[in-house]
C-alpha cells in the first residue's frame, strides 16, 4: 500500500528577490513499512522533500498524496488534521517540550488526538518500555542524555500509531554509540509495528541501516536504490 506519493513536485523559495529552487520535479512513491533514507549533500532538497511528505509545507507545483489524500492544496488547519495521527516526526534537535517530563511528552500527541485517559496511559507506558526508558518516566528533557531524549522523541512519534514516521537527521547530534542504538531501535520498531520510516540524512550510520536509499542532488532524484 502506498502511504506517500509525490507527483511532479517543485518547491521554490523567495529570498528577497532571488528565487531558489529547492525541488525541481520530484516523483516518488513510498510504500507501507518501508525504511527509506533520503540522502544527498546539504542543499540537495532532502529536508524540503521530507517536510512536503510530512504536510509541514506545500509544494509550489505538483501533488503530494498521503494515504490517498492530496494534501497539496489543503488549508493550514486541514494539514494539521492530517499530521495529527498520520505522521510522526523525529528531529535532529531532540525537540521535546522542555517543561514536560518524558511521560507527558509522549502523551502530548495522544491528547491532541483525543485518546481517552486509560488508553493514553497504557500506550505511554508501553512506548516507554519499548524504547527502554520506563525508569525515566518522570524526568524532564534536561535530566536526560541526548540519546535518551531522542528515544523519547521516537516514542512520541509512535504514540498515535501513525502510518509514517519522518526523521530529519535523527542521529546528527548523537555520538556513534547512541546513534547506532537509535538506528537499531527504529529498525526494531519498523519490524515490530510495520510503521514506515523515512529519513533525511547524510549520516552513513543511517544509510547503513536503510533498506531503500533515495539520493537527491540539486533538487532532483538522481538514484533510487532498494
Amino acid at each position: 500500500m502506498t502511504v506517500a506519493k509525490i507527483i511532479d513536485v517543485t518547491r521554490s523559495f523567495l529570498t528577497g528577490k532571488i528565487e531558489t529552487q529547492a525541488l525541481r520535479g520530484i516523483n516518488l512513491e513510498i510504500q507501507q513499512g518501508e525504511f527509506t533514507a533520503l540522502v544527498g549533500p546539504s542543499g540537495s532538497g532532502k529536508t524540503t522533500l521530507l517536510q512536503l511528505i510530512g504536510c509541514l509545507d506545500q509544494p509550489t507545483s505538483g501533488s503530494v498524496i498521503i494515504n490517498g489524500t492530496d494534501v497539496s492544496k489543503l488549508s493550514r488547519s486541514q494539514r494539521a488534521d492530517i499530521r495529527r495521527g498520520t505522521i510522526g516526526y523525529v528531529f535532529q534537535f531532540f525537540a521535546l517540550i522542555p517543561t514536560l517530563n518524558a511521560y507527558e511528552n509522549i502523551e502530548m500527541p495522544l491528547l491532541l488526538t483525543g485518546v481517552n485517559a486509560s488508553e493514553r496511559h497504557e500506550r505511554v507506558i508501553t512506548l516507554l518500555e519499548s524504547v527502554g526508558l520506563s525508569h525515566r518516566e518522570k524526568n524532564r528533557p534536561d535530566q536526560m542524555s541526548g540519546g535518551e531524549q531522542q528515544r523519547v522523541a521516537i516514542a512520541r512519534a509512535l504514540a498515535t500509531k501513525p502510518s509514517m514516521i519522518l526523521a530529519d537527521e535523527p542521529t546528527a547530534n548523537l555520538d556513534s554509540k547512541n546513534g547506532e542504538a537509535i538506528m537499531e531501535l527504529m529498525t526494531r520498531l519498523n519490524q515490530e509495528t510495520g510503521v514506515t520510516f523515512v529519513f533525511a540524512t547524510h549520516d552513513q550510520r543511517v544509510i547503513k541501516f536503510s533498506k531503500r536509499i533515495v539520493t537527491l542532488q540539486d533538487g532532483l532524484i538522481v538514484s533510487d536504490q532498494p
Binding site: Q51, S77, R84, Y89, I97, T99
Partner: protein, 405 residues
C-alpha cells in the same frame, strides 16, 4: 484541555525573573490605581461630608430672593421668625437638627492688623454646631447668651498671633447700611481641618449676630441636618410651599457634584492609560517568549496542534501573569490604602471657596473599586497579550522548526 493549563503554568517558570518582573510591573500599576481611587473616594466623601456639615447642611430653607454669594441683610432676603419655622422642621422624624443661622460680613481688627471675615451667627447648643464645638483646640465654646465672645479658626488666630482671652474688634455691616463695631473676647479657637473655612470664619451666638447686624428676629437661612442624607428629597417635599425656597445639598453644591463626576470619568481614562503601560510589559515578555520558543512552536504544530490551541497556550501564560500581577497589586493596594488610611495625605489649603476640602485626606476603597480595577487590569492585559499569541499561532511550521522567524 488540561495539558495546556499545565504547560502554560510551567512555561511561566521557565524564566522566573522575567515573569516576576512582568507581574510586578502590573502589580505596581494596580496598586497605584487602587491608591489613587482610594484617595479620590476619600477626597470626595470627606469633601462632601465637610461641605454638608460646615456650609450647606443637607438642606436649607431660605427666602426666595436670598443670594448666598452676597451677605444681604435686607428683610426680603431673610427669614422672619426663624425659630418657629426651625422647630416645625425639627419635629420631622428624619431631621437631626434644624437651626437658624445669620451670616454677616465684617472686618476683624487687632492692634494694627485687619482681616476680612465671615461671621456665622448660630446656636452653639444645636447639634448642627457640633463641628465647631468638637473642633475647639484652645479655650471653651461660646454659649447662646454670650454677648461679647466669639470662636475663631486656628489659622486666623495663628496669623494674627491671637490666643484665648485676647480681645479683638469686629466691624460688621448692618441691615440699615451702617457699620457696627464691638470688642469681643476670643473664647475659643477651633479647627474643622478645612483651612479655607477656618481662616476666615468667626462664630458667634445667633442672638448677638442679630443684635449686631440689626437683623432683629431674622436669619439668613435655616440650616437642616438629616439623620440620613437619602431622605433629603422626602424632607424637601414635606416642607415645600411655605413661601420660602428649600434647597437640597446636591443642588447647593453643584460645583462639587460636577467636579466629582468629572473626576470619576477622568479616572476611567487614567485606568486605561496606566494599565496599558503596564500591560505593554506583559506584551513584551510574551513576545520574547514567542521568539525564544519558535522551534518549540514548530514541534507542537508538527504534532498537529492547531493555531487556536497555540493561541490559547500563550494567552493562558499571559492570563497567569495577569491574575498573579492583579492579585498581588490588589493586596498591595489594600495595604497601602490601610496605611494611608491611618497616616493620611496632608495637602493644606486647596484655595477652593465653593468646596470645603479637608487638609488631610484619608483614602477609602470599597469592594466595587477592587472588582472594577481587577476587571480593567485583567481585560487590558489579556487584550495586550493577543498580539504575541497571534504571532505564535500564525507561525508557519517549517519556518518555526528552523527557528528562522
Amino acid at each position: 484541555m488540561n495539558i495546556l493549563f499545565s504547560m502554560a503554568f510551567r512555561n511561566i517558570g521557565r524564566n522566573k525573573r522575567r515573569s516576576i518582573l512582568s507581574a510586578v510591573a502590573l502589580s505596581v500599576g494596580v496598586m497605584l490605581l487602587l491608591l489613587m481611587v482610594g484617595f479620590l473616594n476619600g477626597e470626595m466623601n470627606s469633601t462632601q461630608d465637610m461641605t454638608i456639615r460646615l456650609q450647606s447642611g443637607h438642606l436649607q430653607v431660605r427666602a426666595p430672593s436670598y443670594n448666598e454669594n452676597k451677605t444681604s441683610l435686607k428683610w426680603e432676603d431673610l427669614i422672619e421668625d426663624p425659630d418657629k419655622k426651625a422647630q416645625q422642621i425639627a419635629s420631622l422624624a428624619p431631621v437631626l437638627a434644624a437651626t437658624p443661622r445669620l451670616y454677616l460680613s465684617g472686618i476683624l481688627a487687632v492692634q494694627e492688623q485687619t482681616a476680612g471675615v465671615r461671621i456665622y451667627g448660630l446656636d452653639p447648643s444645636s447639634p448642627a454646631s457640633e463641628p465647631y464645638e468638637s473642633g475647639i483646640v484652645a479655650g471653651t465654646n461660646i454659649t447662646p447668651d454670650d454677648k461679647n465672645a466669639i470662636l475663631m479658626g486656628r489659622p486666623l488666630a495663628e496669623r494674627l498671633k491671637l490666643n484665648v482671652g485676647d480681645i479683638i474688634q469686629l466691624s460688621v455691616n448692618t441691615s440699615n447700611g451702617d457699620v457696627a463695631d464691638q470688642n469681643f473676647e476670643v473664647r475659643g479657637i477651633y479647627t474643622t481641618n478645612v483651612i479655607g473655612f477656618d481662616k476666615s470664619t468667626i462664630i458667634m451666638p445667633l442672638a448677638k449676630a442679630q443684635a449686631m447686624g440689626k437683623a432683629e428676629n431674622h436669619a439668613s437661612l435655616i440650616f437642616v441636618l438629616l439623620k440620613d442624607r437619602n431622605d433629603t428629597d422626602a424632607v424637601i417635599a414635606s416642607i415645600q410651599g411655605s413661601g420660602y425656597q428649600v434647597l437640597g445639598w446636591s443642588e447647593m453644591n453643584e460645583f462639587m457634584m460636577v467636579m466629582e463626576e468629572m473626576a470619576g470619568q477622568y479616572f476611567i481614562i487614567f485606568y486605561i492609560i496606566v494599565l496599558s503601560i503596564t500591560a505593554s510589559v506583559i506584551t513584551n515578555t510574551q513576545l520574547m517568549a514567542v521568539f525564544e520558543r519558535t522551534r518549540e512552536i514548530g514541534v507542537l504544530t508538527s504534532m498537529g496542534m492547531k493555531a487556536r490551541r497555540i493561541l490559547a497556550l500563550f494567552m493562558l501564560e499571559a492570563g497567569y501573569l495577569a491574575v498573579a500581577g492583579t492579585f498581588i497589586g490588589i493586596i498591595l493596594g489594600i495595604l497601602v490604602n490601610l496605611l494611608f488610611g491611618i497616616v493620611g495625605f496632608t495637602f493644606g489649603d486647596f484655595g477652593l471657596t465653593d468646596v470645603l476640602m479637608p487638609n488631610t485626606i484619608y483614602p477609602q476603597i470599597n469592594f466595587s473599586n477592587i472588582v472594577e480595577i481587577s476587571i480593567y487590569s485583567l481585560v487590558i492585559t489579556m487584550l495586550a497579550s493577543i498580539y504575541p499569541a497571534f504571532v505564535a499561532a500564525r507561525m508557519e511550521p517549517v519556518e518555526a522548526l528552523h527557528g528562522s522567524l
